[in-house]
Amino acid sequence: GESVGLHLPTLSVQEGDNSIINCAYSNSASDYFIWYKQESGKGPQFIIDIRSNMDKRQGQRVTVLLNKTVKHLSLQIAATQPGDSAVYFCAEVTGGGNKLTFGTGTQLKVEL
């Protein structure tokens, strides 16, 4: 069946350090993945996406890595800032593009 899950529920990092948030997925047919950031009391906000024909994609301070062999996705945040504190979800696009299947979420806490 389809499932997307995260390895760690909480990640604490020092301001300025790099953060790595991991995600495992089980649907080998998935071909598009998205990372979302959810701040307290708000809706999910798009961060970065990656298609299955890529293994790396970079944005501003963020990098997503995709390892299809082990069905693993990661989000790297460089020079983590207090404003990065949030819950991060990976999501898998399914249902012909009509549906996102979200993972459980990782709480990122940035310590000053």
């Binding site: 809706g43 979800f89 696009v93 012909g96 593009g97 009509n98 549906k99 979200f102």
Partner: protein
Amino acid sequence: EPEVTQTPSHQVTQMGQEVILRCVPISNHLYFYWYRQILGQKVEFLVSFYNNEISEKSEIFDDQFSVERPDGSNFTLKIRSTKLEDSAMYFCASSWALAYTGELFFGEGSRLTVL
């Protein structure tokens, strides 16, 4: 910057009552969605809507749920007879294309509390 707006931000209702959650998607978007998030859990897909009909729905979206686009701007989710387990944050989202090519924009959510 255009945004998805949702009302009410918080609604408290008695079990068995009907609830309507309202959303105004971004104006040039064509695809509309409802997701929900039970407190502390992951975001779950409920339904997608395109061209005035449901394109996909989840197992959660049973006969107690319905969606409607009554005019050119609003998109509503109705729960006919609420249950305690319907208590959650409900997020509306919209996009101009399918998720493969069009980013989904989420609203800030409507918190539903069923007593």
